[in-house]
Symmetry: C2
Subunit: 430 residues, 2 copies
Amino acid sequence: MRSVTIGILGLGQVGAGTLRLLQERRAAIEARLGAALTVRRIAVRDPGRAREVEVAADLLTTDPRAVIADPSIDVIVELIGGIEPARALILAALRAGKHVVTANKAVLAECGAEIFAEAAARGRMVYFEGSVAGGIPILRSLREGLASDRIEAIAGIVNGTSNYILDAMTRSGASFADALRAAQDAGFAEADPTLDVGGGDAAHKLALLALVAFGARVDPHAIPTEGITGISALDIRAAGELGYLIKSLALAHDTPEGPCLRVHPTLVPRAHVLAGVAGAYNAVQVESRALGRSLYYGRGAGMMPTAVAVVSDLLEVARDLIAGVAPTTPPAVRAVAPASTAALEHEHYLCVHVPNLPGVLGRVATCLGRHGVSIARMIQDRAGAGPVPMIILTEVVAERAMQAALTELSTSPDLAAPPTRIRLLPAALL
Amino acid sequence: MRSVTIGILGLGQVGAGTLRLLQERRAAIEARLGAALTVRRIAVRDPGRAREVEVAADLLTTDPRAVIADPSIDVIVELIGGIEPARALILAALRAGKHVVTANKAVLAECGAEIFAEAAARGRMVYFEGSVAGGIPILRSLREGLASDRIEAIAGIVNGTSNYILDAMTRSGASFADALRAAQDAGFAEADPTLDVGGGDAAHKLALLALVAFGARVDPHAIPTEGITGISALDIRAAGELGYLIKSLALAHDTPEGPCLRVHPTLVPRAHVLAGVAGAYNAVQVESRALGRSLYYGRGAGMMPTAVAVVSDLLEVARDLIAGVAPTTPPAVRAVAPASTAALEHEHYLCVHVPNLPGVLGRVATCLGRHGVSIARMIQDRAGAGPVPMIILTEVVAERAMQAALTELSTSPDLAAPPTRIRLLPAALL
């Protein structure tokens, strides 16, 4: 039987899962492919370490360059993560004529220009299904299932850690800090959670979604990104009373000026399909011209879910290699500055802490009104002597106007703390 | 530019949508494929009819056999629907050496043995993404995204008409008959709705899901199938009070004796992701060994959604034709009798109408207890002089025992009408 040969760089969780899947599903894979997927070499940091998968000692090396240089290997699977040395090794693999499969969103989002240009120049493939939403076949669905459709908008819960924390806050009433600590104890948040709860990881994934959906490469640092660190137990409770859940969403829609991208906490109506995405699950809602709304849901991270995505890419590369087909063109490397968010329109949730005194509500409302922000609904809990929270839902207003109102409000002597503002899910995604 | 040539049989809603998508997305398709998808001929019943798409008169013919016989055509798209003449035309197309794309679940579920055998014998492809859940790329996700995974169970809302009616009953409190009439008026139900509300259409789709997920061909008539015609406004309301929505589900799980398949109304907890699937939407929940739970959601029918699926299949066939790749083996034609449902275990919802008299509850409970059916919860509305509804939630009990209990209950002189029983979503799918 023909064999497609694989070198793996990195044998952490996802590497071990990939190896296990290739072992356990060997017969099924060979029946489907008409060929074997054979792992030739695996680069690891510590060959002596205990692993969650059986691996022959003679497959292991500490030298990733030796794996890349091995002329008997067809495909390099990069599962080291992070920027370096992943970037240098992926480029070296492409230069050595290997196809590359990776689950590394950071390196592709940050260094995609270089990597996809190298792949195109060498006529090699770079597949990365595992880099967005773990095992959910979202990139394949966009690329093939919706191939003939025009993607108009995307709303994704793509960071499992943030969703897990917000979900825990919703269920238990805990503060962000307590929920984060519990998530860390349960293994759902890293010791340094910045990239997850700050929104950076979601911005990386959003950049890759935009690459596949719109054929546009966007610098992830140019994506307006707000994390969930400012969400309080009060915000969660007040949103709940108003009929909403707070979700961290990665949002994109196509505009004549290029894709408009942003990551921020969002109030989602309780009956909306995204509101049902609990715990560490991920989901990507897609709005496309012909199909309308579709949604893809599943485990966004973890050893075996991500391994399923990696092996699905391996099967695709292998099929093309066996058929002798020219590689699929890598996604467009056309660099695009993301469209401005200044004209975006949302309803907003606002929480301001103000003293329980006559005239304060009027001054807050007047300030908002001056910027064209109309109040749709207000809740104020009159109890308490010190500053009390005032919850406001606004009518639809442009981002630009809201920003101006928030800036002025922040300078008001009435406010004990800067206002919290959370956007509602835009009408087009309801 | 190379051209892959297409003949279309049938220019109803989906045919017109397919043609429109091929026209409107022509540039995008050509850029992606590196080739053109060119429609050569279209067989219609009435060439003079007004259509929702522009079509050159000289493409039209009333003779489908002429389209099939055209040696310049690579792929036949069958969009006539139903069994005959679709079956005969698909077989003729395969015998003429054409690849076939179809959205016809009925003909594939009923005549799949013959069709896939013919395709295998001729080395031709039969693609049918549009036949299950419209534009949702569920078959492609099972076949490719989850290619290396082992599918363990499937729960699908795959009949949009039934879901629309149940959803309308839930929102408005209407009876089944009134909700059906409203659905017919709104164009969401056929004049003869039997195949939809009786569950037959869902059984067809379930047979095709089992084909792709388990590689097993099952006679759709061997699938235990219950429609939604027996669901009353009272059932919907009582389920709601207990925290559930009633959904019509197509269910499958793998067993050592082959796949166990069934279609029936099901109580789904309100917070479950399937409960959020409203209106005419479809969703398929998949449980697989490595990925765990995933879900695919979108429009299950309609002109443009189904056209997206048809064109995704066309693109896949075209890619292989251009590459000169041998066709993908059609799904296994291994015929399997579905595993018995007798040992399946569920909690159940029961509704019996009994006279409001002393001793009746005791007799009903005793009858259930005799068959090992324990009552977990009971609601009885004491108002009313005639028979009053008694709602019972049971503990988990095997189908076999429940059937025996229902048979005995039905003969009880206490009951004014046969009991209604609705299964709860099994624990593995919660």
